[in-house]
Amino acid sequence: MRKKTNQSNTAIPVREKVVNTLELPRDLLLGEPMLTVTGRRELYISNYKGILEYGDSFLRIQTKTCRIIVSGTRLAVDYYTSEEMKITGFIDCIQYES
């Protein structure tokens, strides 16, 4: 019983270790989000699960590992598909919430 819990606890670190040592892309294997920010006006996010909240000045996005809060002014979603979304507007802050 104890052994089993140990295994389940160490499962993720082992997976991460393998990815780290083999230098494999973390976004593909660990499902981590990818953010591409161009200046302050464009932000591409991929590997997310969905939008949690959306207003004119903030945007909460749920990803597999964490939540991302983008705040700014006049934020708009240019396009929104299951793989990627593009956010435009004036970005003040990108914050991670676990």
Binding site: Y54, A76, V77, Y79, T81, S82
Partner: protein, 414 residues
């Protein structure tokens, strides 16, 4: 750019989403691969664009998330076509346009000639016109291979041609024989003497072939034989045995004197521009001039300057339509007299032009002696101009047959 064009062609709607869980609605859209763009939060919900196909898939999601959707505006070709579905003539016009475009693309509209240096572009275009393969010819009626053959046989200098048609453009590539032909080929049985073309004194003389009959410093008159093509052949005892004939070749440069005379009348009519200008435009279609009926020059004396601009599609496809711009310049006529100074400058100008003309012919001016004097009602300019020039001209050699007979006779007696 391409993506937005695709969206426009397929059609899309701008909608407003309101209700209980709009975020959930968006996530469901994402999961079902329904593209949503230009998403903006607005009063009570969100506004976004969605394709017509995507919009039709929304019903179950709307029910699930208890949201409502309202179309704000419609964009794209399908809606456009629906809106104007009753405009039959418009549709017919578009169809006719496409048909006409297709029909016109079966003709030659542009001709490019490359590789020609001796043969001018106009000559090639004229040739194509003769063969009925110029602008406006039907592409299906042109046989490129036969045309190439025809072009090569029509112009001997063309050693290779390639005629290709891409779209509505015809490319004529030409390779010319750049080796010069023999500059002059004299017939073998005709022999020429060199005779003086003008009176003069020989200054330089180089004889390459023939018997020189004049030397440096000798004064010759027009028509004098300078180098003879007849050569005497003497036998051992110094008697004339035979004449040999051979064409002459020589450079002979002589000092030639030109007489110069110019007369400038004292009274003349002075034309002075008043600066009043009126411009008229005319249209010329197929050689017929269409005048502006409302235009009148309104001047007593005027000079007309015409500028013609012919319309053309490409750089060599000229249409039979040209625009003529006519400028009417008014001038005033007054009687005037030249003063001595004015006459002198005018005379000098005329003389300069005359000398320039001579020099363009390759004549070298070595001296001039010109005087101006007043006679009755005009200034008379007289004088001489010394020049160096080639006086070579050709004339058939006279054949002396009697001697040949005599020679034959002696041959028989021996």
């Amino acid at each position: 750019m391409l993506l937005s064009l695709m969206k426009y062609l397929r059609g899309y709607v701008y909608v407003q989403l309101t209700g209980y869980a709009p975020e959930r609605f968006l996530n469901l859209c994402g999961n079902r691969d329904i593209l949503v763009w230009n998403l903006k939060p607005c009063e009570g919900g969100y506004c976004f664009c969605i394709s017509v196909w995507g919009f039709k898939q929304l019903k179950p999601i709307l029910r699930k998330t208890r949201t409502h959707i309202r179309i704000l505006s419609r964009h794209g070709v399908p809606f456009y076509l629906f809106r104007y579905r009753r405009r039959k003539v418009y549709a017919l016009g578009i169809l006719l346009f496409c048909g006409f475009l297709y029909y016109l693309s079966g003709f030659i509209w542009n001709i490019e000639v490359t590789g020609n240096s001796y043969l001018s572009e106009e000559m090639v275009l004229d040739f194509l016109k003769e063969q009925k393969c110029a602008f406006g010819a039907k592409k299906s009626e042109i046989n490129c291979a036969a045309l190439e053959e025809e072009l090569r046989s029509a112009y001997a200098d063309v050693i290779w041609t390639s005629i290709q048609i891409y779209g509505t453009k015809m490319t004529v590539s030409i390779q010319e024989n750049l080796l010069p032909e023999e500059s002059y080929q004299k017939e073998e049985d005709q022999v020429y003497d060199i005779v003086a073309a003008k009176d003069g004194t020989i200054e330089q003389m180089v004889t390459r072939a023939g018997t020189p009959l004049a030397g440096i410093g000798s004064e010759v008159a027009k028509g004098d034989v300078l180098v003879s093509g007849r050569m005497e052949l003497l036998n051992d005892s110094g008697e004339l045995q035979q004449y040999l004939y051979h064409s002459c070749d020589a450079d002979i440069i002589a000092k030639v004197t030109y007489d110069y005379r110019d007369e400038i009348p004292i009274d003349y009519i002075k034309k002075e521009k008043t600066g009043n200008v009126r411009t008229d435009y005319q249209l010329e279609v197929c050689g017929k001039v269409i005048k502006n009926p409302f235009f009148q020059p309104k001047f007593d004396d005027y000079a007309v300057v015409s500028d013609t601009a012919q319309l053309h599609f490409t750089h060599n496809f000229y249409l039979p339509v040209s625009l003529v711009k006519q400028t009417y310049e008014e001038y005033r006529q007054t009687k005037a007299q030249y003063t001595k100074e004015e006459a002198k400058t005018l005379a000098a100008k005329n003389l300069k032009n005359y000398l320039h003309e001579l020099q363009e012919k390759g004549i070298q001016i070595i001296g001039k002696n010109v005087m101006i004097e007043r006679k009755n009602h005009s200034y008379v300019v007289t004088g001489t101009i010394d020049a160096l020039e080639s006086i070579v001209s050709y004339q058939p050699t006279e054949r002396i047959d009697i001697t040949d007979k005599e020679v034959q006779d002696t041959d028989e007696s021996e």
